[in-house]
Symmetry: C2
Subunit: 194 residues, 2 copies
Amino acid sequence: MSRRTEQIGGTRQRIVDAAVALHGSVGPARTTIAGIAGKAGVTRLTVYRHFADDEALFSACSAHWLSQQRPPVPAEWSRENDPLERLRVGLSDLYRFYRDGEAMLTRIYADLAELPEAHRKVLASRNDHFRNVLLEPFPEAATNNRLRATVSHGVSFWTWRSLCHDNGLSNDDAVDIMSTLIAAAAGTHPSIAP
Amino acid sequence: MSRRTEQIGGTRQRIVDAAVALHGSVGPARTTIAGIAGKAGVTRLTVYRHFADDEALFSACSAHWLSQQRPPVPAEWSRENDPLERLRVGLSDLYRFYRDGEAMLTRIYADLAELPEAHRKVLASRNDHFRNVLLEPFPEAATNNRLRATVSHGVSFWTWRSLCHDNGLSNDDAVDIMSTLIAAAAGTHPSIAP
DNA sequence: ACTTGAGTGAACAGCAGGGTTCATCCAAAA
DNA sequence: TTTTGGATGAACCCTGCTGTTCACTCAAGT
């Protein structure tokens, strides 16, 4: 029963790999069952048998892709209690993840509206969580709207993409810039880091 | 010959109105000929007769929509020679335009990849121009990569949307924040405005 | 009164994609 | 050796959109 299930798993894996590749190149919205089947070297029918609906397939893709990434770990950011230092640590971790996964993340966020409801919520609440962790050590976190908005902005994938992909900045530069911006929004005015 | 052409123009206008409405609600990518015809109260064939191809229709929509907007006027920004003051004037003008046209601009920029090549270029070069005008009075404009990147970022529609739409800031707050950010990137450190 | 042409309705062919059924093959497991 | 079930190929039906043709109506312009 081992070699048998191994083959089955192999087919399934080839389907997931093909789907991940398409999600990262043409984007989820333009990824079709026929396309996945073709790339995986199986028939559409085989795809249908392995995955009952789009949501199941997308979940499998998401899990598999994440398993070969190094996701940001906000829990580690919390070890730093200085607001600006936590900001630096957190944004660095986040932007590293964004850069590594740029191709996939660009397509995912571009096609956000077409994604299964559940996954949209997960992505949104992830960003909320990142924001809250970065916001927490600021004394004025609860009262300063600008601060909240600015941290939200800094945590957004599109912000990273605009600064680093579109305008060629390094991650360090982007972290510096956004830290400075957030510090300003918080009411403090540190010098910009070298 | 006047009433005749008037009627023809009326039909054409109803088609353009319908197309603009759909571009601003479901977005250009999901706007179909059948949908436009239905909303305009004509048949698909009539749409085909008035507009030879998608590009012609899109151009007409773009022109008509713009004609009822108040676009930003970078030429007026140039009358201000102080870098930070020009920034304030320019971003205010731009963000006002963004807020007024939010619905349409959101769909347009979201579906950017599906748009006719020519229009993509126009939009991109518009943003480049805005950036260049804002950058011009800065002495370090040519040498400071961070400054260029930050101004590009500030001029982007998605930046406005993130700060104001997603996070509920006022335009004035967004202008303050981005001005502060850009000033920091330029190496100066003004106080944040009240 | 006659001509012109914008607009109509219906029908056609084509394409891409979704989703399903059925008989069949074939290799691993029993 | 027989059974099991993953995978296949081919055939369907359906939906939605594109683009085109033809005969026709009706009203404005002449």
